[in-house]
Amino acid sequence: MSNLAFSSFSDFLHMDGHGVYVWSAYIISTFIILLAFLTIYRNIQLIRKRIKDARG
Amino acid sequence: MIKIFQSEFFKLRKKLRTWLGPLLIMVLVLIAFPLSIDISQYDLNRFYFSIIVVALLMISFLSTEGIFLEDYEDGSLEQVYLVEQDFYKFVLAKVLTFVLLIGVPMAGIGSVFSILNGISINEVPKIFFMMFLSNLLLFNLFAFGSSLSINKGAILGVLATLPLALPIIILLGRGVRTIQHGIGFEGVMALMVGSGLLVASITPLIISATLKTHLE
């Protein structure tokens, strides 16, 4: 823990005023990637169901 | 080969709308721009040339849109395939026809209007030659884009090939600056001639492959 670049958690969020940019970039990008995983996974389930139903 | 070229030339010359239309639009756009701004406020010399370059880009896209459409729809493409098994000569003739009948006058119009940008009369031939080479590149590129989306509409071709047109634009802009500043022209010219010859000989091969895909 001695290597932490920030002295407190609120410091970590604030990042000398740059926190807004850093955090919005990471959070939105992570959101996009997670959304991609979830969407494709859901689509796979949907198409598997459709194939099963068609097969009968 | 000469015969194919001649027949394509006469075919295009007859279709006034296809070649005269884009030229008139180009003139209109180049006149409209200064009319739309306050000339006393802006020094036209400094950026009028960008308008000319963008006009070249758009009009070359416009003129090659649907370049193969008619032949695709009326069966002439199949005819060519039956006879030649390959579209190289046909595409080469067609694209060169377009470049000569539309691209050359476009370069002429552009170089005349470039005088408005402060280019001196002595330099006009250089500008003309540069624009001609850019048109050679652009027409080949957009003919390729048009062959991809033969009957699916124009927007597809733009989206697919516009990114590839940007280096040509950058090169042309750079060339103009070398003329305005007086040095470096030979380098840009060499690059343009080299890439022009390369692209003009290779693109028909690629377009040929694309057309064969459409006929399968």
């Binding site: 670049a5 990637i33 689509n43 | 991809l148 990114p163």
Partner: protein
């Protein structure tokens, strides 16, 4: 002889079965590495002398930019395989990879843009790197749109492959010409401190983030290709028994 080798290993069925086995490991390992890299970079790496704390976006932006281009190169290899050996799986992979590529290119643009605000004071700057990334993004969109507009899918596959190959030849041309063009403008590019060397305390989290991002994107690509293969091959017998 070589082509029969290629054909044996290119059946969509074996591809789906093999990737299914590896997917959990690749995705978990990828997420883990990415998380470690990011936490290290965000909380433990030292502040930059020139840019302060905003440089930390590098652990997101650089991996994204790298893979924005690598995904395209992957697609171009698939395109060559498809055009030369007529391997259908290769075409399926191009289509699935294009979506992943477009996404990560967007993230690269987006993160680069946000980074620009504290660094240059503006969210857009016509410098060489961000402009060529924008062009790359448009190329991805063009490929996806082209393929989507043909009802004859075999034809769409071949046209898409041709476009991808023509595009890959252009990427170095575009990069060089945009670079050339932007040297006329005195724009500051994204550099860390002196720009030529990066301190190890910042380099290691960056490398970890790059690997983590790579594995994450590969797993996303596996998922995407599985979906697309099921869609395209849904009438085949192996799919019927697979589901």
């Amino acid at each position: 002889m070589f082509s029969s080798f290629v054909h044996r290993f290119s059946s969509p069925k074996s591809y789906v079965e093999i990737t299914r086995k590896f997917f959990p490991y690749i995705s978990l390992f990828g997420f883990l590495l990415l998380l470690i890299g990011w936490i290290w970079g965000l909380a433990f790496a030292p502040e930059d002398a020139v840019q302060g704390n905003s440089y930390r976006i590098i652990y997101l932006h650089v991996p994204a930019s790298i893979f924005a281009q690598l995904v395209y190169f992957f697609m171009s290899i698939c395109a060559l395989i498809h055009l030369v050996w007529r391997v259908k799986l290769a075409a399926y992979l191009i289509k699935s990879a294009a979506l992943v590529g477009a996404m990560i290119t967007f993230i690269a643009l987006f993160s680069g843009s946000i980074w620009g605000i504290p660094t240059w004071g503006t969210w857009w700057q016509w410098d060489a790197r961000i402009t060529s990334t924008l062009i790359l993004f448009i190329m991805y969109l063009g490929i996806i749109t082209l393929h989507g507009s043909f009802s004859n899918l075999e034809k769409a596959d071949r046209l898409m492959s041709i476009l991808v190959v023509v595009g890959v030849v252009n990427i170095p041309i575009i990069k060089k010409s945009v670079d050339w063009w932007s040297t006329l403008h005195q724009s500051a590019s994204i550099t860390i401190s002196d720009g030529t060397s990066i301190d190890p305390s910042m380099l290691y989290p960056l490398l970890i983030s790059i690997f983590g991002m790579g594995l994450t994107l590969i797993s996303l690509g596996i998922l995407s290709s599985k979906f697309y293969i099921l869609t395209r091959e849904k009438n085949k017998k192996w799919v019927q028994s697979y589901v």
